[in-house]
Point group: none
Chain length 232, copies 2
DNA sequence: ACCCAAATGAACAGGATACTGATATGTGAT
DNA sequence: ATCACATATCAGTATCCTGTTCATTTGGGT
């Protein structure tokens, strides 16, 4: 989920922005001056964007930004009154990512928010999705398509990999063979019950020490298969 | 050096921007319509920023941007006439990074340019400071366009170089042949699967000791290729 | 303990994918 | 114009993956 921090001393503006963003499906956090915003940002590392007024009591936007940049690269969009050109440029050089002049159109706000979030996640320093899933001593690195068991690389085929990934995304959950088929093959399962079973067996040969007594890839009779951390 | 592409059909504007940017120490490249700009961007991967008008003959800014995004994440700043609000927002959603309304102040232009470049280099894996990427005993010096394996210079062609650079920017990550094609050629992959494979082979002949048993440039069956340091 | 359904194990043939060598086309330099 | 080099295309081969079949074992309900 994309969480956005809104910071302005005028509560009406905060509330308005809050409504626009919530309508677009974003999660929001509110602050009413710079130091409050900083405190929230230090605590909550899941905030992916900051929208902040420049003129605020206690600690203004410029100062807050220069403090913020000491510990985070989170994108910041400044709100400015119409004619503060000097502030605009100053803010941009300090490391703000964008600014919006008040008053603004809702559509412009959401467009800039989308754009800023897109940049942040696309350039990929902090990606939204977890790239490595691990259960017990199995780890799955998705971009590298690499699976390790007890630190050793195991070579899985594409299908085996997809099945393992599916199970590992929700450890403990039982997947019926038909469900696995639909998710992995993207097709209706019809007379293919055994297909999944065969791949499960091959998977076990590769990731289990004793395939007959699986540590991880367990069967639930009449229901399906699941992945489970060996310790529980 | 930061190279910037300026693209507008009004030659006076291009010249004006050119002067501003040269005065700030930037390197510039000029184009007068979208397709010209695209051609330049495909050939010259060192362009770090694009400043482009929305309204242009031949191929307009919006179309050029959507083509561009298929093979590059280079930041784009749009130029717009004063009241084209609809275009503004459309452009931002497509992946533009900023826009400037005409007429604009020189100071505002340079501020936005600095800001866009800062974002691109700070957040990206493609940073200006990290000019040399190395994986295992392969090193790639981008400004010098020089590749060394175990200290010896190897002569790569442009295509080979671009492929290697793409893979080395994210070591371990698997790139599908089609993905490599779009990123390097800047075109849609259609019946070109073998093309990539052949270049991979050429690359291996040059950087691997035994191309049949590659140390670095590995294949992941049914997935694509990746570069990996032999030791990890 | 019995039976049936579900799960496992092994082997095989067809299919898909990647690699290789040869050839044709394009491009820039001399 | 010619040459050298880079690039694209093609066909053949090797390799690996996949889904099937069939026999066997395991588990649970009665």
């Amino acid at each position: 989920m994309n969480r956005i921090l809104i910071c302005d001393d005028e509560k009406d503006i905060v509330r308005a922005i809050d409504i626009y963003l919530k309508a677009e499906g974003y999660d929001t956090v509110k602050a009413y001056n710079g130091s409050e915003a900083l405190k929230l940002l230090k605590d909550d590392k899941d905030i992916r964007l900051v929208i902040m007024d420049i003129m605020m009591p206690e600690m203004d936007g410029i100062e807050a930004l220069s403090e913020l940049r000491k510990f985070s690269n989170v994108p910041v969009i400044f709100l400015t009154a119409k004619s503060e050109d000097a502030d605009k440029i100053l803010g941009l050089n300090l490391g703000a990512d964008d600014y919006i002049t008040k008053p603004f159109l809702p559509a412009e706000l959401t467009a800039r928010v989308r754009s800023a979030l897109r940049r942040y996640t696309m350039l990929g320093s902090i990606s939204t999705e977890k790239t490595v899933i691990s259960v017990g001593s199995i780890s799955l690195d998705d971009p590298a398509k690499e699976v390790r068991v007890d630190g050793d690389i195991v070579n899985l085929t594409k299908t085996e990999y997809e099945i393992l990934k599916l199970l590992m995304q929700e450890p403990g959950k039982v997947f019926a063979p038909g469900e696995i088929y639909t998710k992995v093959w993207g097709d209706d399962p019809y007379g293919t019950e055994n297909t999944v079973a065969v791949h499960i067996r091959r998977l076990r040969e590769k990731i289990e020490i004793d395939p007959a007594k699986p540590r991880y890839l367990k069967v639930v009779w009449g229901r399906g298969y699941k992945i489970e951390g060996g310790s529980r």
